[in-house]
Subunit: 192 residues, 2 copies
């Protein structure tokens, strides 16, 4: 039991990992813990739009754990192109440390989920990726392109980075987003 | 699809609902969105300590949705004794409004989960309640009794309010907490 409690208290630190978008109506930046909650809710709500039959409970668990490595590494904007390999090595070390606080059986269950998300080869992990990529886009569309403008992210970089995983994981979600991104371009919501 | 998107953006507001405990190491108060994420992780991690066989996926979903009514009503400390019935009526109206943004089938699925948590009659909802009651206690034990002292909550009120649901939902968790609460009393971590 002490191992479980120590692990849960370690997870406190994800509440202090800040991302680049701001919650609608709030001045502060979003943190990765509340983001993970919203993704889980988004996945459940969106399940009927999945192309193939999915284990949605597995998607939810993947989304709950997918950012936990950021406790040691911090959040990096999805548009960062440098150092991807080094970041992945660091995140893997981080989740081994953090999940390794639990009894071995539970630790390995979480590590397997985390790896499945990273490898993105199953229908569940592809759906989870689509949800993860779409959420900050929806916030930016509702928030005058806040993180795109603050970080100088162009329309082309957004579409180039998010279209393939969203199309692969949930085509209906891409069909929804595509015209809205085009409209946002015309309204000047992107960075240069 | 627009209904799902509007619902997910409405959930943004839970990130702005503040609770009475502060995340460890942070100055601000916890919000109900990050709290819901942590409860889901706690439930999964604690599942092997359940007394009876449980549908842990259902517990996770219940914990993800259980605070969503606070978008309209705000968080109320669990030790508030006045106005419980009026708060429950207001929360029920709130979740009907918020889940009602979704297509009917999805709305009713969430409403049923929310009601199951509130009624607390199934093994899953009792386990979910135990996790929900224990989490702020664990934070207070790790944080010098911060919210107990700030709000003048005595040892007797804490134990009177949390012992029955935690014993009912996860006896092993109560066995863990009981001596630690006694030790906290001796260290003066409670309010008067």
């Amino acid at each position: 039991m002490q191992q479980v409690i120590d692990f849960i208290l370690e997870l406190e630190k994800l509440k202090g990992v800040t991302r680049k978008v701001r919650p609608l109506g709030l001045d502060r930046y979003e943190n990765s813990a509340e983001h993970s909650w919203q993704l889980a809710m988004f996945a459940i709500s969106l399940a009927s739009y999945a192309e193939t039959s999915l284990d949605i409970n597995r998607v939810v668990r993947m989304l709950l754990v997918h950012d936990i490595g950021e406790i040691d590494t911090g959040d990096t904007i999805v548009y960062a192109e440098q150092g991807l390999e080094a970041r992945k090595v660091a995140e893997w070390a981080a989740v081994q440390r953090i999940f390794g606080m639990l009894p071995e059986h539970q630790a390995s269950t979480f590590l397997v989920l985390w790896q499945e998300f990273e490898q993105c080869e199953t229908p569940e992990s592809r759906f989870a990726h689509a949800v993860d990529r779409a959420m900050p886009v929806l916030l930016n569309l509702a928030n005058q392109g806040q993180s795109w403008r603050e970080n100088g992210i162009s329309y082309e970089r957004v579409v180039g980075r998010i279209a393939p995983p969203i199309k692969a994981g949930c085509p209906a979600l891409w069909n929804y987003l595509e015209p809205r991104l085009e409209e946002a371009r015309q309204r000047g919501l992107f960075g240069a």
